[in-house]
């Protein structure tokens, strides 16, 4: 049987035995995001001549975090809930040659790691953040997240969610990220292109990928993907978001001083 071309980036086994299969549920969108990330990095390795060993994947805790776990054939860190961005920042401070891909979820980014999220964007340090947004906490059993729509029932909002939600892409842009885009798991090619742009961006790139959690939203993966496609809309200019629609596309692609480069000027005074 022909192997999946991206399987080269996974460890099927290690010194102590099998490392696959992944633990993700059937129909989960996270694997699609990892696939898109691999395709993007594969092209960048080929086209830009960046060594594979310079790529590091960093995740926190939650379903999104399980994309690094122990099966990535890259350097990776499956780290602390919400703390991906300071850990990634520390790694860059030690070695700016590293190309860091942070894979995170809406809870990891928007709730427990919210403070780190806005400050990483403000610093504009050279990171690519892939945020898989499924609108709830998957790993812990489908609890409400800061991205859950109002009125929706989850395991901790049995009477419906009474809180407003965050628009994570808007937050990233407002906080100072230099590349911001939102796609869905129903837009794989656009997601690959956005990740490539994000990795090539000298600065903080935030790519939000709206994803399905068939288990906790209790819908079939196919229906959820169809809904993601149907409900997402590309807006022109200042056009208002139609009710119930998710704006997708590239929201921000600007140039600003990047932290490592700015700090290098401080260091260079002493050489």
């Amino acid at each position: 049987m022909k192997k999946h071309p991206m399987l080269k980036y996974l460890k099927e086994e290690g010194p102590m035995g099998d490392r696959l299969p992944m633990i993700l549920c059937p129909g989960c969108g996270s694997g699609q995001v990892l696939n898109a990330a691999f395709h993007a990095i594969d092209k960048i390795i080929e086209e830009d001549g960046i060594a594979k060993e310079n790529f590091v994947f960093i995740t926190g805790v939650g379903c999104s975090a399980r994309l690094t776990s122990h099966y990535l054939n890259f350097d990776s860190g499956w780290t602390i809930h919400g703390r991906t961005l300071p850990i990634a920042t520390g790694a860059l401070l030690a070695n700016p040659e590293l190309r860091i891909i942070v894979i995170t979820g809406d809870g990891d980014t928007g709730a427990i790691g919210g403070n780190h999220f806005i400050h990483a964007c403000r610093r504009n340090i050279d990171l690519t953040i892939l945020c898989i947004n499924n609108g709830l906490y998957g790993m812990t059993g489908g609890q409400v997240a800061p991205t859950t729509g109002i009125g929706l029932k989850t395991s901790t909002t049995p009477y419906g969610n009474t809180e407003e939600s965050f628009d994570l892409s808007k937050m990233a842009e407002t906080a100072g990220a230099t590349y911001v885009a939102r796609w869905t798991t129903a837009h794989p090619r656009q997601t690959v292109r956005a990740i490539m742009k994000g990795v090539r961006k000298k600065g903080t790139a935030f790519i939000e990928i709206m994803s399905q959690c068939p288990v906790h939203w209790k819908e079939t993966p196919v229906d959820m993907l169809k809904a993601l496609k149907k409900n997402s809309v590309r807006l022109k200019g200042d056009e208002a978001v139609p009710n119930g629609k998710i704006p997708i596309g590239e929201f921000c692609n600007i140039e600003k001083p990047e932290w490592i480069e700015s700090y290098q000027k401080v260091i260079d005074q002493f050489n």
Partner: protein, 386 residues
């Protein structure tokens, strides 16, 4: 490597906080992440000034959690890294310390202790000595040093880095406001006489990436940094030696945690250092640590000279791992042990556990928010032994 941007050998007059940063630089610290807090801010400010001068990177983070996480990332990125905080900030760093223990990550955290609980106050304290050992969630040991002078803020910081690299584990420098704000003489030896330890590398041991076990090979595993082609999957879950987590069973769990627990606890005699004075055949004993030892030795000297008391002095230079066996081998029989501490009697507990059958009585000499005077220590000794 030493160059003209390191502190120069010779006599200096420095603050403890500054000496700490100068020691860190000599130890090879090239990343500092921090968040301001009184009375630890002087460490951070000196790092902000000095770290870029030697080609390192300094960053002020959004909180103490992020600051500790900088060390975690930097260490796997290949740098020696440090932060300094004070007690409330130290509480916020505990989760990262726990992750550092599990992932066996070398990093150095300085806690310039202030009194608590809550915001407490901004004066001096030794109220975090138990948090140092037990503050992090889960099992696992810790190394914690207690400096008592500006000289030791310099030397113990270097030692903290050496221990963290040697044992691949977080190391805590449990300073106090007293010793961090103190200004006194620092003697910097010739740099070639200072011992620097660097982490063991799989490359140096001829271990190929496909055979590399990030948590195996030896009691202290060699450490490949990110970016070196070893495809390390850093992990905080209990794991097999190669980082595999699919094979969970109780035996794997047990082996994983006990290995990094025992690498510290079974080597307590190598790691933990003590200092004694007037110790031979003493009838009574003062056991102390940190800056309290400075007034304790005054009290002991005075008690011996002026009052003919056969009282000795023992200082714990390392708080954790606790040198129980060493203490028991040194102390066979004494009458009363006095433990002056800037808390309500914290290290008194492991001391009691170690020596309860080797003495008649153990007396705590507590102080909250200020350093004991020799007179205070002496008055408790007199009251007890009159």
């Amino acid at each position: 490597m030493p160059n003209n941007r390191h502190i120069q050998p010779g006599v200096h007059y420095l603050q403890g906080s500054q000496a700490c940063v100068e020691g860190a630089i000599i130890a090879g610290c090239r990343v500092y992440g921090g968040y301001p807090i009184t009375p630890a801010s002087e460490v951070m400010e000196h790092a902000a000034l000095r770290i870029p001068q030697i080609g390192g990177r300094f960053i002020q983070m959004e909180d103490e959690i992020a600051s500790a996480c900088i060390l975690l990332g930097a260490s796997w990125g290949g740098a020696k890294a440090m932060t300094a905080t004070s007690s409330p900030g130290f509480s916020l760093m505990q989760e990262t310390i726990s992750y550092g223990i599990m992932s066996e990550t070398p990093l150095v955290i300085v806690d310039v202790q202030r009194p608590g609980p809550g915001q407490g106050y901004i004066t001096t304290s030794q109220e975090d000595v138990m948090q140092a050992r037990w503050g992090h969630h889960g099992e696992g040991s810790i190394i914690a040093l207690a400096p008592a002078s500006v000289q030791e803020m310099f030397e113990f910081t270097i030692e903290a880095f050496n221990l963290s690299e040697k044992w691949r584990t977080p190391v805590l420098l449990m300073a106090e406001e007293t010793v961090a704000h103190m200004r006194e003489r620092l003697i910097v030896p010739p740099l070639e006489e200072i011992r620097i330890v660097n982490r063991k590398k799989p490359q140096d041991l001829g271990i190929a990436p496909e055979n590399y076990l990030p948590w195996g090979h030896d009691m202290v595993a060699p450490m490949a940094n990110w970016g070196e082609g070893y495809n390390v999957n850093l992990i905080g879950l209990v794991h097999l030696e190669d980082g595999n987590v699919t094979k969970y069973d109780l035996q794997m769990h047990d082996a994983c945690v006990k290995r990094f627990y025992h690498k510290i606890e079974d080597n307590v005699d190598t790691i933990s250092q003590i200092e004694t004075a007037h110790f031979e055949k003493c009838k009574h004993l003062v056991v102390c640590y940190g800056s309290v030892s400075r007034t304790a030795i005054e009290a002991v000297t005075e008690a011996r000279k002026e009052h003919n008391l056969e009282i000795g002095y023992l200082r714990l230079k390392t708080l954790w791992p606790f040198p129980e066996k060493k203490l028991r081998s040194l102390i066979k029989k004494v009458d009363t042990i006095f433990v002056p501490e800037m808390n309500l009697g914290m290290m008194k507990h492991p001391i009691t556990e170690a020596l309860r059958d080797r003495c008649r009585k153990i007396i705590s000499i507590p102080s909250l928010g200020s350093l004991h005077t020799p007179e205070y220590i002496l008055s408790v000794i007199h009251e007890e032994l009159k």
